[in-house]
Symmetry: C2
């Protein structure tokens, strides 16, 4: 269950206005990439209500390093950024949180 996962990544991804559909199409391909990474438990992407050009990505990991090292230093991350980066309106705002209280 991702809901009990030790580490939650919360990323707000601002997408260039008008590029939302292209971003979503690219994301449908990109979302499979982290599956190859140790400690990856799952992810979901949702579109913002108040700011429809801003998406929230939740991803669940066994440890922060599974995300910040194992994923970000992998070839999969290069492909992820290649697919999604062109639609980013600035860098995503990313933070992590510990297991649920």
């Amino acid at each position: 269950m991702t809901g009990n996962s030790p580490v939650l990544e919360v990323a707000f991804i601002a997408v260039k206005p008008g590029a939302e559909s292209d971003f979503e199409i690219a994301f449908a391909e990109a979302r499979k990439l982290p599956e190859a990474i140790a400690g990856f438990r799952g992810l979901e992407l949702r579109r913002g209500v108040e700011e429809p050009s801003r998406y929230v990505l939740l991803a669940w990991w066994d440890s922060v390093e599974n995300h910040t090292t194992d994923f970000r230093e992998s070839p999969q991350f290069g492909k992820w950024r290649e697919l999604l980066g062109p639609y980013f309106d600035g860098l995503p705002q990313v933070s992590h949180a510990s297991a649920p209280l």
Copy 2:
């Protein structure tokens, strides 16, 4: 399953440094309050890794209005704020997102 819930609330709650334990104790009581509200599907609270005085609250609702109207205008919200408000370091940053893509 909260993971497929139509609406996700993401709230970042900055807590006064040093008040984290008291906040967590108060939260253990407060977390039951939304259960009485229509359209409430569940919540979880996690402590920030990069900023340990900042917590992230995820809550799942059937609609945005279940949160912004049904909960915020309820007596339960008065109690929620009474329990938790003293520990807030500024107002929580709250946004909503649609069903997962």
